[in-house]
């Protein structure tokens, strides 16, 4: 109770206005683009009403070579339906089960992800839109925002978890207990009080979760890009995350025409099959060559017939593009220096099996000479007799690194024994590479970091022990925390939630937060079947609110595609920390029975001897002894 009084609802606010002013200055171009965007959107929306709103389905696949010889494949499917009040409740493309779910539980926004493996932020990037939106904590993560009165939110959440658990063949229903979900106030997503967040770090994800997910697509995995999802190839990858994101404004008072939108993404990191020895050119290993067939074991036989667009993109990251230029400069005479459209199919550095239908360049608003490039391939023109099998073959060795998040976040446990310990979140700058502290303020202002962490009740965190270390030195906590909100855990009722905005000086190299905790005792019924394995503390979410992970493309804005839209969506740079495994004292589960047995035995012994004493004939025994003695 003492902790609660001291530390619940601590809130600090300081010069936020000053900072936002500063930020406004740097973001002007973005704002301008946004204005244009909004105006064009509005005009198109008005046109849309005239030409009748309709359901839409699009599919897309983004492939990206990763620096550590792997390939990222990001499938993106989007179904949308106009609002019920205009369109009615009978659909032709949109999945019925999802629509009913949204309507029954009045879900305004929801995201469900099933993930296996951990996204490697250092090697696969931590700054781009895909790592911010599709890199998810292991297991299941679910958050939902409801459009119901505040007192019904918990009921809706419980019902939703049960419905989803039936729909996706997963144990999402374990999130119904109030100990397993939390209600973040402001840090996770800004919805006032109606958002619920829960994770199941130990949920095993497999094909039984993918099949129902695929059922929501109109073509399932029978046609289109989803036909690539060969189960063994997908699940042998290094990282696998299937995600379902749902937004609906059916219940809002605003008369917008956005309706309900279902976004499904599958992100996999695969190792191309290099077969034997690595190819070497001038003493350096070549990046592995790959094709769709070698990655997935399948080819694309045309698009899903009901999808509006079906494109495959290959993305070359900014760092890779600049590296490509370097390599070219070295190998050739420095002619144009810029990659031109027609040599994407086949140039001195790499070769693609098909020439792209379009090349889309990212428009950078930061002063950088190179920007990432998207090669677009249309699947529409391919069919059974001419399947689409995109291949990339490297000719010269290329080495590059991914764009990193401003700070690399990791979390670990300290202390030993089964009694107490400490959680530490460490933030490390990866300034060794060539993109140090991207966009960080020049004039000595500060870096703001948002940390959201949920801790189960049996890990009793003492929030007053919060310590902040910057560059290895202990700092005053109050000075470095801009805003904090703590709701302490309540035994067997609710988990502890900590949300905070941390302010770090600009050139920080390492920062660390530590929190001490006591390990609680569970009732014998509360232990999971394998209690000796330990208990998981869900990942903490670290978001860098000053940084936007978005790419804007030079393409004409009118015929925007959802997959590009996803990349362009303005989002904070987010990274998830590791899941912690806390060993708790596990009791001997046979103890009660042992106690019963030993008590009963003692009683039985006592009773038996009492009975024997009562039956004893002392005189006779003495007589016998005497007669024996007489004989001798």
């Amino acid at each position: 109770m003492f902790k609660c009084c001291l530390h619940s609802q601590l809130q600090f606010r300081s010069e936020t206005s000053l900072e936002s002013d500063h930020l406004m200055g740097s973001r002007e171009p973005i704002v301008l683009i946004f204005l244009i965007l909004i105006s064009t959107y509005e005009s198109s929306a008005k046109g849309g009403i005239a030409e009748e709103l309709n359901e839409e389905f699009t599919e897309g696949l983004l492939l990206r070579p990763l620096p550590d010889r792997k390939v990222l494949a990001h499938f993106h499917f989007q179904s949308s339906v106009p609002p019920t009040r205009i369109y009615g409740r009978h659909h032709h493309l949109f999945p019925k089960s999802i629509y009913q779910l949204v309507n029954k539980f009045r879900v305004r926004e929801m995201e469900l992800s099933f993930t296996q493996g951990r996204w490697n932020y250092e090697r696969w990037g931590g700054y781009d839109p895909i790592s911010s939106s599709s890199a998810k904590p292991p297991g299941v993560e679910l958050w939902a925002d409801f459009d119901v009165p505040l007192d019904q939110v918990d009921d809706s959440w419980r019902n939703l978890t049960h419905a989803l658990s039936g729909l996706f063949c997963a144990s999402i229903n374990f999130l119904e207990h109030s100990t397993s979900y939390s209600a973040p106030q402001w840090s996770f997503h800004s919805f006032a009080g109606k958002l619920r967040y829960g994770t199941l770090p130990r949920e095993a994800v497999c094909t039984e979760n993918l099949t129902p997910w695929l059922k929501l697509l109109p073509c399932r995995d029978k046609a289109g890009l989803s036909a690539l999802m060969d189960r063994p190839s997908i699940y042998k990858g290094y990282y696998h995350s299937q995600r379902l994101h749902l937004t609906s404004d059916d219940f809002g008072t605003a008369k917008s025409n956005a309706g309900t939108m279902l976004e499904q993404t599958l992100t996999v990191v695969l190792q191309p099959n290099t077969l034997g020895a690595r190819a070497m050119v001038s003493g350096k290993t070549l990046q592995p060559s790959w094709s769709l067939n070698s990655l997935f074991g399948r080819k694309v036989h045309g698009k899903c017939s009901v999808s509006k667009s079906s494109n495959v993109y290959v993305q070359f990251e900014q760092n890779l593009v600049s590296e490509l230029k370097e390599v070219r400069k070295k190998s050739e005479a420095p002619e144009s220096g810029i990659l031109i459209h027609d040599d994407f199919g086949n140039n001195t550095i790499f070769e693609m099996s098909a020439s792209p239908d379009r090349v889309v360049k990212e428009v950078e608003n930061l002063q950088k000479e190179d920007s990432s490039i998207l090669l677009e391939f249309l699947v529409e023109d391919y069919n059974d007799s001419k399947p689409f099998d995109l291949g990339l073959r490297w000719k010269l060795p290329v080495v590059w690194s991914c764009q990193q998040a401003p700070l690399h976040a990791s979390r670990f446990l300290m202390g030993s024994g089964n009694e107490r310990g400490a959680i530490a979140i460490s933030l490390k700058s990866l300034s060794s590479n060539n993109t140090p502290t991207v966009g960080c303020c020049e004039k000595g202002s500060q870096l703001r970091i948002n940390i959201f962490q949920v801790v189960p009740w049996y890990v009793k965190v003492y929030y007053h022990t919060l310590k902040v270390f910057i560059d290895g030195e202990l700092q005053s906590t109050m000075e470095n925390i801009e805003k904090i909100h703590i709701s302490p855990s309540e035994d067997k009722v609710s988990p502890g939630v900590m949300e905070m905005i941390l302010r770090l000086p600009c050139g920080v190299i390492t920062a660390a937060l530590t929190l001490e905790f006591d390990k609680g005792f569970l009732h014998i019924d509360e232990y999971p079947p394998d209690a000796n394995q330990g208990f998981d503390i869900p990942s903490a979410v670290v978001s860098f609110t000053d940084f936007q992970a978005s790419a804007s493309f030079e393409d004409n804005l009118l015929n925007k595609l959802p997959i590009l839209n996803e990349l362009q969506e303005r989002k904070h740079v987010i990274s998830y920390t590791e899941v912690l495994l806390v060993p708790l004292t596990t009791p001997d589960f046979s103890m009660p029975y042992n106690v019963i047995t030993i008590t009963c035995t003692v009683f039985a012994l006592y009773f038996g001897s009492l009975l024997n004493v009562l039956r004893r004939r002392v005189g006779e025994e003495e007589r016998r002894l005497k007669s024996k003695g007489d004989f001798k």
Binding site: G88, R89, H90, H91, H92, L93, P95, K96, S97, Q100, L101, N103, K104, A163, L167, K215, P218, C219, R220, K222, A223, G302, S305, V306, E380, N383, Y593, I596, T597, C600, T601, F603, A604, L605, F607, G608, L611, N612, L614, R615, R617, V618, G619, E620, R623
Partner: protein, 589 residues
């Protein structure tokens, strides 16, 4: 204290110290051991009682048994009121009473043919007869509100439209009292052809050159086989399988399946179907069930049975033998609805659009003919219609599939087939004809899908089968509870059972009074409560403290203790016998 006394001081030469004793053996230790044993044995029931699972309000087993035996022994029958009107018949040949008696006799004959099914009318029916001829008008009942001579204004020869005539009769027979009276009007006209028509409301008429005997038989048949039994025939779906959920809700799920969207994609305007065609049906079924409708369009859903090309019929053929394999449960994800709660019934209606390589697809009946509806039903599951697109035969290789919309005329036809299938699923006839022993009657189809007398039949059957179901559910609940004495029974369950029994009793009393709607409602309540009790979460969880468990907990105490006690008793008993033998040996000496 003979045993523990000192050794005998006087040594008697005859006294064998080993085999003789002078005093009677004592009983103290024996009684002590026996007392301990008996107190254990006596304490055992108390122990068992103390570890018994406490049930504060056990379900009333006896009442449940009473109810189930009552339901099973005599199916509930409703009182029905019948009325026959004879128009233009000779008033002198028969009196109204005579006619009434002979109609009842014929009805008894027809009713005897088929065993009294559940939910039909009680055997002691009353038939009121009105004789209406030009000159006079005689009735045998007291509350017959037939407007005498009203039919004279009608010019039957001019009215050939059955529908219009039906409305006329409806206005003529409209009674405000609310009692459900089934009427057959027999009209003698000059027409050769005798026409029997059953209307959409609660009446039928027979018209033509007909004689009294013939008319009586026909009237009796219509009363018994149509109004009482719903025009059912042998071989149709048995009424027990009425597709109604325990909570009285049905979800009609309409699915349009495009077998292969590479060939063509068909779409429909279900919104229009829902608004124009389905909503009257839903309204009509309202007293019986709460119907909700949902729809979806699915792609890549091939059927799982095979079809073969038939040159003579110029189409691909699947026969009735293939029907069990037609539904492809792997690919057809006709998801069960989230909206439907656990006890609702979902009926799937599927339009199957075949792919180009099996088009046109026709259903061949066992007699070699092609089915006109090209569809079939699966009881309790729903219905399937194969719809062949008109563009079927023009097999041009289209690179991109064309999108079509099923025309509103086609969707109307499809809907009509579905309506027939829904009627069949409810156990009603879908062809609009009733073939009886005394000729064929036309059953007028209502635009609402179900006519009033059919709804009456359904509602009677529904309440009857609900009650049967309630009885069996409660019966198995009580058997289960009695067979597992260690199962914890929550108070809720006992309460639910009690309410369910009350609702069942209310149903019975309502049925006796002939209030169909109320009895259907209360029977639904009874069944719902019974099922709720049976599927109560606390029952489902294994809160069963097994005997092995009990044994394992108590045996560490009772095993060693009982060993001690039994051994003590045995030893003492043996010793007592031995000692008394010694004593008798000494006495005999």
């Amino acid at each position: 204290m003979a045993e523990i006394s000192e050794a005998p001081s006087t040594l008697d030469p005859d006294f064998d110290q080993e085999n003789m004793r002078k005093s009677k053996p004592g009983l103290k230790r024996l009684t002590l051991s026996l007392a301990v044993l008996f107190s254990f044995l006596l304490g055992l029931p108390f122990l068992l009682k103390s570890i018994e699972i406490y049930r504060s309000s056990p379900p009333p087993f006896r009442e449940i048994d009473d109810l189930s035996t009552a339901i099973e022994s005599s199916p509930i029958l409703f009182p029905c009121h019948f009325r026959a009107v004879f128009v233009n018949f000779d008033p002198n040949s028969y009196t109204a009473d005579q006619l009434s008696i002979s109609v009842q006799a014929h009805m008894a004959k027809f009713a005897a043919k088929n065993s009294p099914a559940c939910g039909t009318c009680a055997s002691n029916v009353t038939v009121s007869v009105t004789l209406d001829s030009n000159s006079n008008c005689i009735s045998n009942g007291n509350n017959v509100d037939w407007k005498c001579g009203a039919l004279n204004e009608f010019k039957f020869a001019e009215k050939h439209e059955d529908g219009l005539l039906d409305e006329d009769f409806a206005s003529l027979l409209d009674n405000n009292s609310g009692a459900k009276v089934y009427t057959v009007v027999a009209v003698k006209t000059e027409q050769e052809e005798v026409r029997a028509v059953v209307g959409k409301y609660r009446h039928a008429w027979i018209m033509g050159r007909i004689f009294e005997e013939e008319a009586i038989e026909k009237i009796a048949e219509i009363f018994v086989n149509v109004f009482m039994n719903g025009g059912k025939e042998e071989g149709l779906i048995h009424g027990e399988f009425m597709p109604l959920g325990a909570d009285g809700r049905i979800v009609l799920s309409f699915n349009l399946l495009n077998a292969d969207p590479h060939n063509w994609i068909y779409d429909w305007d279900f919104q229009e179907i829902d608004e124009n065609l389905l909503s009257p049906v839903i309204d009509a079924l309202k007293p019986l069930a709460d119907v909700s409708v949902e729809s979806q369009v699915l792609y890549h859903t091939p059927k799982s049975s095979f079809s073969f090309w038939d040159d003579r019929l110029d189409s691909y053929i699947f026969s009735t033998k293939d029907l069990p394999f037609f539904v492809n449960s792997n690919e057809w994800h006709l998801d069960t609805s989230v909206a439907a709660g656990g006890l609702s019934k979902i009926l799937q209606f599927v339009v199957y659009v075949p792919s180009a390589k099996e088009c046109p697809l026709q259903l061949q009946l066992p007699n070699g003919e092609i089915s006109t509806t090209n569809g079939f039903i699966s009881p309790m599951w729903g219905g399937i219609v194969v719809w062949n697109p008109s563009a079927c035969l023009t097999d041009s290789k289209i690179k991109h599939p064309l999108r079509y919309k099923i025309s509103s005329e086609d969707s109307r036809k499809l809907f009509e087939v579905f309506m027939g299938q829904l009627r069949q699923l409810f156990g009603l006839k879908s062809d609009g004809l009733f073939v009886g022993a005394s000729g064929t009657s036309i059953l007028l189809a209502s635009e609402r899908g179900f006519s009033e007398w059919e709804l009456d039949v359904l509602s009677r059957q529904h309440s009857c089968f609900n009650l049967l179901q309630c009885g069996t559910t409660l019966g198995s609940l009580s058997r289960l509870v009695q067979s597992l004495p260690r199962m914890i029974i929550m108070d809720d369950i006992g309460k639910q059972v009690k309410y369910s029994l009350e609702a069942a009793r209310l149903t019975l009393s309502n049925a006796l009074l002939g209030i169909y709607d109320a009895s259907a409602e209360s029977s639904r309540q009874a069944r719902l409560l019974a099922e709720d009790a049976f599927y109560h979460p606390s029952m489902m969880s294994v809160s069963y403290y097994s005997f092995e468990h009990c044994f394992a907990v108590y045996s560490p105490f009772f095993l060693p203790v009982s060993l001690h006690v039994l051994l003590a008793v045995l030893r003492e008993w043996k010793r007592y016998k031995q000692e008394s033998k010694k004593y008798y040996a000494w006495k005999a000496k």
